[in-house]
Every structure is written in C-alpha cells, then in structure tokens.
Amino acid sequence: MFAVEVNNLRKEFSRRDATRTRMRKRRRRVAALEGVTFTIERGECVAILGQNGSGKSTLVRLLSTLLLPDGGNARIFGHDVVKESRAVQRLVNRVSVEASFFKKMSSEENLAYAARFYGIPPSATRTAIPEILQSVGFPVGRRHEGMEHLSRGMQQKVALARALLTSPVLLLLDEPTTGLDPRSKLEVQDFIREVWTSHDATILLCTHDLREAEVLADRVGILDRGRLIALDPAEVLKEQYDVETLEEAFFAATGRTFEEEEDGDLERGVFA
C-alpha cells in the first residue's frame, strides 16, 4: 500500500472578473491543479518544487482534507481523502509557511489545544509538551510566554512541535523554512531530517528552495502551472535534462527560470 496515492487530481477556483456582463460580474475558472498523478512509498521523503501559484499549497490542502477536489482522487494509506476524511485526519499533520497560532496564548497552551483535538489528554501533554519542545530546540523555559513574544524561527519550531505531538505517519510540509533566517532554516531542516529517520514518517515537502529539496528528499517533483511534469531523484532529473544543477533542470523542464513568474502564476497564487 502506498503512503500517498494521487490519481488525476484536479482543482479549480472561480474568480470574478472586473468586467461586467449586464448586471453581473463575469466569473472565470482558474485551474490550480490539472490531472496530478503520483505515489509516495511509506517512509519516503518527496519534495515538490514549484513557483508561487504552481499549486503546491493546493495539493497539500487537498491531502489534508481542507479542500474538496473537482476531479480525480487521493488516498492516504488507502483512505480516500474525501470519503474517509476522519481516518485521513488521524494519520496526517501539516506545517505551513505561516506559523499560525493564537498569538496571546503561550506555546504550551497552543500545543495543548492542538493535542486535545487528537484525543491527547492533559495527563499526557503535561510531560509530552516540554519534551517535544526541547527536541525541536525550543527553550523550554519560555513555553509559558505568549506566542507574540517569540521570533518567527521560534514560532516555526513550535509549529513543527505541534505537528509531531500528534505522531503523524504522513507529514505535509508546505514551505516550512520560507522566511526564516539562515540559522533557523538549517535548524528546522536538521530537525526534519531527524524526524524522517527516527519517527518512521513519510514526508511530502513543498518548497521553492531548490537546495532544501535536493538535500532532504529521495525524489523531487516539479509542479508547474498545476501540472506535475517530473518526479524523480534529483540526480536522475539532472541526467534526464543533461544539466549540472537542479535549477537548470527546473528551467529545462518548465522553459523558464525559477524566479520567473507570469500573470497566471500570480492569479493562481491567490489560492495556491
């Protein structure tokens, strides 16, 4: 059984145009994902590379039951993300680019709140929270401080702790190091590596950090304008496109540089 099995997955969003027809503004369909198909083996770490608006976050949201697909299907350890969403939710957790918390509440309170939803009682979190915070390199003595007083890097460590506290077998990482300073970035990457090796977790890492993808992942996928156009080990991708670096492979696969964004990307980026 695959950890993740995605078949012809499609997602569209409708957007209102500024132009009016009679009394109503026109609505347009914008494709965020178009027929995405791939599998991930248990224990594998797969990175999906893509620019803003490529559909990375839409993919993560579909797999974490936060969006309903318009076509195709996705299964997590055999459970359909739409029909068996509760079973999927028990297996999955997610860290996204925004470390979202109740800012006035402390890290301990935020983690306790998240843990309760996964059936973890106060007797268990009393010891588990300080332990897990320590393991992500968070100064345990600061666990009673409001989140608003913590740096962005610290908040992202708490976000990682929140995801791990529920012992997910599939960890969805949506640009977990974006916006972090170089030191925090390395710390978070080290921790991801440690979790992967020590927790028997399967990881889907969506990123636009090419080095991060190359260093952490078994296979690297290229998602461009909602289409998955490649998914192979980084070395195979380089060989396939006969290039030296992953950035060059990206350029060869998509026909544009990694930094280059088009209007369509920005439009999809509203959702993705």
Binding site: L67, M105, A114, R116, G119
Partner: protein
C-alpha cells in the same frame, strides 16, 4: 479499549479542549473582558433608566416592576450576545489568527467542536449575566422578595440549548462571507429579540410578528424569567415556557450542526477556509 469507547473518549477530550482553549483566551484577554463587562453594565443601565424616565415624564407605573422587566430584557440581550459572539468566533477568530485550517483538519466531529464552544459560552455567559444582573439590581436598590432564582436558572439553561443551536447557524456566516459574516450574526441576534418581547410584551407587536415570536426561544425565556423573578413562579409554573424551548432546542441544535457542516463543505469546495480578509 474497545473502539467505540476509545472514539467517545477522543470526542470528550476534544470537547474539553474547546472549553480549555476558550478559558485560556479569557484569561489572556482578562483586561478586555473587564472593559466589555463595564460596557455591558453601562448599556444595561441606559435601558433600565428608561423606567425612571417614564416616571419623570409623568407616567404612572410600578417603578420597581418596570425596572425589573427592563433589567431582565437587557440581561437576556447581553447573555444572548455572549453566546452568539463566542459561537461566531469559532470561525471568525480562528480565521483571523490563521489557526482555522489546523482546527478543521483535526480528527474531531464538527458537532463536538461546536458543542465545546457552546458549553463554554453558556457557562461564561451565565456567570457574566448573573454579575451584571446583581450589580444593576443593587445599583437601583431593587427588591425581589418573591423571586424564584432556581426556576430562573433552569429557564436560562433550557433556553441556552436553542440559543446555541441558532448560534451554530450564525457561526457559519464568516465561512461564507469572511468580510461581513460576523456582523450579520449580530443582525440575527437583534431580529430574534425584536420579535421576542425584549422590553415589552409580545402582545404589543403586529400580528405577523407575534406569529414569528412563537418560534423564537427568546420569547419563552423572557416571559418565563419575568414570571420567575417578578411573580415567584416555580419550575412547575413556568413549564408552559420550558417545553417549547426544549422542542426548539431539539430541532435547532442538529439543524445548527447541519447548517454549519454545509457551510464547511462550501468553504472547502471554494477554498474559503484560507482567506483571511
């Protein structure tokens, strides 16, 4: 542990988690809570002073009785406000903080999620309403020698079930309209009270409004509370106000959960969980 028992335990822990989180937030925003308490007290005063105003204008009324009638109306209004506000914040606050996706991807039934907020709202609302009631009654030197406060507590508790059910329906509004959904919850609260005889008997309303009043739980809550506090009616005597509220509660809670679930599916279909502005 057998699977159904484990699942039930999971749901109870989740329910506790909602109550616990709301308690953390109340503690962290304690000064704001105190400020809002004074605002509620001031708002209640402005209404209750109307009784004295009527006398000052030459009206001949039983001042204590009219003051208590207005006080009960104002306190029920503020209580309903707290219940609706906390339920609407189920979505609105989480969307603002950005935590909503983490809550909605957790393996917890939406019913438990909403009921957890509802239970906290009832407990917190009753405590706050009681303090406001006692403070304003003391301010006006009101005497209620006949009051049956046990019956009053039973009435507000039963009314709360249907208030929570209706509140769940309004909680879905910020999911559908992130910009205006929260405010529309207050509109629903106002519409409910205007037909329910908040400061006047329902009999003074036009006939069509009196018909609408029959399906509003606030109608029975207000009438029952006034009977219990002003006339000392016991639980048995206000049963005529309790059973309609029980029926409305039995219908409105499942309906509220169903409406919220529909809103959630709409948001997941159209990608509205994420939007924060």
């Amino acid at each position: 542990m057998r699977e159904p028992a484990a699942a039930l335990r999971h749901e109870f822990i989740g329910l506790y988690g909602m109550v616990e989180r709301n308690w953390y937030l109340i503690k962290r925003y304690a000064w704001w809570e105190i400020a809002f308490f004074f605002w509620t007290a001031a708002n209640t005063l402005t209404i209750v002073f109307i009784a004295k105003g009527v006398v000052a204008e030459g009206g001949t009324v039983n001042l204590d009785r009219l003051t208590t009638i207005l006080l009960i109306g104002a306190v029920i209004w503020s209580y309903l406000g707290i219940v609706f506000e906390l339920l609407i914040e189920t979505v609105a606050w989480e969307r603002w903080e950005g935590t909503i996706e983490y809550t909605f991807m957790a393996p917890l039934t939406r019913a438990v999620h909403l009921l957890g907020t509802g239970i906290f709202a009832i407990g917190y609302g009753i405590v706050r309403a009681t303090i406001v009631f006692a403070a304003i009654a003391a301010f006006f030197g009101l005497h209620m020698p006949n009051a049956d406060f046990v019956a009053a507590l039973v009435l507000i508790s039963v009314a709360s079930i249907s208030f929570v059910g209706i509140g769940m329906m309004t909680a879905v509004l910020p999911l559908i309209s992130p910009e205006k959904g929260t405010q529309f919850g207050y509109v629903a609260q106002g519409l409910m009270l205007v037909v329910s005889g908040v400061y006047y008997p329902v009999s003074v309303l036009p006939e069509f409004m009196q018909w609408i009043a029959k399906i509003s739980p606030a109608t029975y809550a207000l009438r029952g509370e006034r009977s219990a506090i002003l006339d000392g009616a016991g639980v048995g005597a206000v049963w005529g106000d309790i059973w309609p509220m029980l029926i409305i509660g039995v219908v409105s809670v499942p309906l509220g959960i169903w409406v919220f679930r529909r809103g959630e599916l709409h948001a997941k279909k159209h990608g509205k969980l994420k939007r924060s502005g």
